[in-house]
Amino acid sequence: MNNLTIGFIGNPNCGKTTLFNAYTGADLKVANWPGVTVEKVEGSFEYKGQKIHLVDLPGTYSLTSYTMEEIISRNFILSDEVDVIINVIDAGALERSLYLTLQLLELNKPVVIALNMMDIIEKRGLEIDMHRLPEMLGIPVIPVSARKRRGLDSLIHAAIHHKDAPIDPLIHEHKETSKHRHDHHKEYTMVYSDDIEDKIDIIIEALDKQYHDVKDKRWVAIKELERDNEIIEKYPLDLPFLKDDHSSLIINEKYDFIGEVIDEVLVHRERTDVFTEKVDKVLTNKWAGIPIFLLIMAVVFFLTFTVGDFIKGYFEMFIDLISKAADDALIYIRAGDTLRSLVVDGIIAGVGTIITFMPNILILFLCLALLEDSGYMARVAYIMEGIMSKMGLSGKAFIPMLLGFGCTVPAIMASRSLEDRRDRLKVMLVTPFMSCNARLTIYILFAEMFFSDKAMIIAYSMYLIGIIVAIITSFIIHIFDKGHTVNYLLIELPEYKLPDAHTVAIYVFEKVKDYLEKAGTTIFLATIIIWLILNFGPGGLVSDMSESFGAYIGRFLVPVFTPIGLGFWQVVVALIAGISAKEVVVSSMAVLFGVVNASSPAGMALFSSSLMSIGFESLNAFCLMVFCLLYIPCAATLATIKKESGSWSWTIVCAGFQLFVAWIVTFIVYQLGLFLI
């Protein structure tokens, strides 16, 4: 079977991943904001007996790359791994997208254009001359709709067919006739002015003399003129005119040619997306923008709480049934008390409690998916720019922070879209302060137990405290930084789209699957470990947990936690266990107090009375929520910080800093609470 490797490349948010999913059946995350894909992803499928290997690359605006994900794309496209390049273009942004196309054509590799979102531009009343466009570019242009899965076979057929085909003779003419000694118009799509072409020729001659391994001499010559760091280091040349940077000139000439193409192929270009303009007038309004954002987040939270709780009731009934059935079965097979305790009070109490929160998690991710797929996410960067820039961060940094409401791990990965490394490190430091879904389980349980009718407001306050602490932290770092970093907000604002049901379903399904997987692995293991350290002590199996290893560890640390209102050994043990995953705080507490189905009304009544019996009141509950919001993120987040920063010391700094901030803020809250109550 023949193998063919195809690389999908295009501007951010042009639909590469949707196309990749359509071919491979993968469920990679897609959304309507630039920078969703930050890693190279591979998949394969068969087409007419041929194995097609697809590589989805992070979005890039050019091959002169400045961000991490752009470098990933560039390196792959330049490698020998790729047989055919599919340049995915958002038909609605044809003019801007053709800049990358022209750069790709200079690589002298087979390129096919997938003109995506044709259905959207037709609705707007735009037309693209599909005869003239391929004629002017000299490569196949296939109209597709990745979302509606249209044009997929034609595209892959064109890629296979085009693999070994030479670029067709071009039949377009520039406005100005070239008098250059080479008739490059028959060879290349993009032909520069005579002055630039002469310089390219001189560089190619020099390359021929000095270096024998240069494959794409014209491309290298153009990059030499652009003073591309990687190229000038690899192939240093001593030519007087190379002291000057010609990149502006080259870019201008490319856009001149793009202008010619657009004039010929795009009909009714003046027709803009009126809907996006009207919506933006409201959502990005300088006065209403932030209040609307807070209102949207409040609605998200309201739905998570109310609708989620309604469905949660059924899950609680289910867990109750499982717990009783398991206990009956264990009694029936005459299992010992220890095994019954492990299964019922340990595993089912711990993991079962976490599973009951699944409806809340599902609603939260559904809302975030709708926001991400609508195109609102990028607007948040603009809305927050004023505040964020005062804190020494770009408004764009707010996107990873907002994604942190879902899960901190992808949020930290999204920081890759930031150009500046200091910005990225700062975002890694403050993003864990945003309330992730795991912490939601803690808020729901403790807010409902101790604040009943004000539970929703108390839980919402955790989200606001998280944002405020993140912003204040950034501000303090900015002051110490003494303006070493200047932040530049530059982000594309995509057109608003009706969220796609399939995209949203994939997103939510994947997140719920992750949550259940975590319940079945990390939380399951943590629950067993917690059960073990709470049921065994120096003398073996203990009947009283206060004699267990867990109690000894907890009591040892109680003095540290007493000034912040959490001086209870049971709470300390749960907080230590919560470093594995924040849900484990809840499952550990359920195991500690032997409460099965802790989130049910009966479970909560038992749970709260047990907590109150040790002196744990509503102020302590609030402090617990604040501390859980801010202290060391979960193990998976720490691993991601290490991976993204490439530094153990930064990871340790982050963990230590978050612990410090959590202690200080909780201390203030507790002491203030004691003073006021």
Binding site: E95, R96, D280, K286, G386
Partner: protein, 74 residues
Amino acid sequence: MRLCEGSIDRRYLVEKIDLPFALERRLEALGMTIDGPIETVDKKGKGIMIIKIRGTRFALGYNITKNIIVREDL
């Protein structure tokens, strides 16, 4: 004048971009070229703006808009 001083719903031509090398090239790659047109869509604060470059909307921070010199496209 500087772009940050521009008004909403106007069309300007770029005269000069005075930003760090990489950022300047990036803006050019997005189509903000010398003598190229840009349209202002929204503005807040000292000069945080939404502009349209070659049909695509971008949000730009003040640190960018204050360093782009434009003239009105009459």
